[in-house]
């Protein structure tokens, strides 16, 4: 009996077994194995027990292989999901109508995300490959990615109207900051704001969720039917659901802005999204002046003229381009 410990012998036996299972016909191995086995009956027994065990395991070979193959398929499906944002987002000049191209999916599919952008005062209509239509409002940037199992649009800034083609095999997901909207097929508007985002639904059923940090932490904060709107406060992580005036919210799609008793400060904030020369309220008591009416958004001068005549405002353009709004002095 050699003084080799049982553990050493077992370790050696395992080494031999691994060596012989390589499948590449290590010719010398069988001879060397026999020599080692002959050295000590303990060696032979340790090896035999491993061989018996692996032989016995053959009985579950098919079941084990079945599970392994299933695992491979599920992992491939998960990998396809993870490959959502492939590096290298291509940017597209604003104003062009471009259709996102779906690549043929292979072992691992990697469709490319496409970015669309509008300048200030510009609007743009985009048709996606799945038949959905996006309409971008002023100063907006979105990125779209259509995959086998999911359609994904991210609004990085601005406002967009979605006309989503129904596809039950692929939910349509819109991410606007920490707001996430999920639909199958419907028409709705999403506006990204400083501390809250607003989702307004024209038709269909829309799920609005809070998305925190990484993608997997998503929970629903509101479920909207046609005619309902949610203002999602992402700080407080809650959404207020109310009805909305379709005319006002969607007016931008026709190049107009509609206000109803809206405080001037909010009107100014909204209008500034469309024009390069910012409006600023110089007389502080003008801030809460209620403004009602329809404004044509094509030309800033026209908008300013309308403000002046309808609401007793005087507009003065400063040298740096800022347009100051004063209350008209009635003499």
């Amino acid at each position: 009996m050699t003084m080799t410990s049982k553990q050493d012998i077992e370790e050696q036996a395992a080494r031999w077994a691994v060596d012989l299972m390589s499948g590449d016909n290590r010719m010398h191995a069988n001879v060397d194995l026999a020599v080692w086995q002959d050295e000590d009956p303990c060696n032979a027994r340790a090896y035999d027990e491993l061989q018996a065990m692996t032989n016995d395991l053959d009985a579950v070979g098919e079941e084990a292989l079945q599970e392994e193959f299933e695992r491979e398929l599920h992992e491939a499906a998960a990998e396809r999901k993870r490959q959502r944002w492939v590096a290298g987002i291509s940017s597209v000049a604003a104003g062009f109508v471009v259709a996102a191209v779906m690549s043929v999916s292979m072992w691992v599919s990697a469709p490319e995300p496409v970015t669309y952008q509008t300048a200030k005062g510009q609007r743009s209509t985009i048709a996606l490959a799945d038949g959905s239509v996006l309409q971008l409002n002023t100063d907006t940037r979105v990125t779209a990615l259509l995959e086998d199992d999911e359609r994904h649009v991210s609004i990085e800034k601005g406002e967009a109207f979605f006309s989503v083609k129904r596809d039950e095999s692929r939910p349509f997901i819109v991410d606007a900051g920490e707001t996430q909207v999920r639909v199958l097929g419907t028409k709705f508007n999403v506006r990204l704001g400083a501390s809250s985002n607003v989702v307004s639904v024209l038709s269909g059923l829309v799920s609005v969720a809070q998305r925190s940090g990484d993608e997997d932490d998503v929970h629903e904060v509101a479920r909207l039917h046609a005619g309902e709107q949610a203002e999602h406060d992402t700080m407080r992580q809650e959404a207020v659901v109310e009805g909305f005036d379709q005319g006002s919210v969607m007016a931008w799609r026709n190049g107009k802005a509609l206000y109803h008793e809206t405080p001037l400060k909010d009107v100014v904030k909204d209008l500034n999204r469309y024009f390069d020369s910012p409006l600023e309220i110089a007389d502080s008591h003008l801030a809460d002046l209620p403004v009602s009416g329809t404004f044509n958004l094509t030309d800033q001068d026209v908008v300013v003229d309308a403000l002046e005549s309808a609401f007793s405002i005087v507009a003065v353009k400063r040298l740096d381009g800022v347009i100051l709004l004063y209350a008209r002095q009635e003499n």
């Binding site: 049982k6 027990e49 018996a52 392994e68 599920h74 396809r80 292979m106």
Partner: protein, 227 residues
Amino acid sequence: MLRKAPHIKLVKDTDEPVEAQGGGEKPLLEDAARRKNIRALEACIKANHGLLVGWITKKLGNTDDASDVAQDVYMRVYRFASVEVIENPQALLFKTAANLAINELKRRGRVLRRQVQVDDDSVSKTVADLPTDAPTPEEALGHRQEVGEMMSAIRALPDKARTAFVKNRFEDKTYAAIAGEMGVSESTVEKYMMDALKRLRTRLLRKPGAAILPMPRKARRGRGGKA
């Protein structure tokens, strides 16, 4: 997944319609549920077709037969539409694809080459029941293992060790091939194999309470290493 999976056999090479087995007549699904099944399957197939064909191609080693096998998979899953409510179409699709891929590879002699040929309807519970004509010296030691224990032991292996072991022993792949697939060196594959063997040995041959017959007295060596 099908709600009553144990009664439905996935492994059927004949063209018999899949039916629930045992007991009396089972009614087929009503029209509405059947149509719902079919819509779910259609969507799932549409979403996964590319992935499936790619995977099957990898397994078979060529693209020619991959579409045919994929079509067989789809035909097979559609048969379930009339039988049970399909709660997880993707799981059913993948399970069927795995099953048909194995059948095809077995037919071509590419996997499970050492396996004893077992009749579909009489899966034995223990190795001892299997008719075997391979007289190994190990048999004399009288090892007997429960099938369930062995599957649990394999499932309990760490991912990489399990993958290497299953690919080597059952998919009949060489270390070189496994290294290529896993994107590692051959020596790393050998490490995974060592890990797998040692853990399996501990669990199946050493653990107290394992459903293993102890080795015959004369062959046993105590922990103290008595000569």
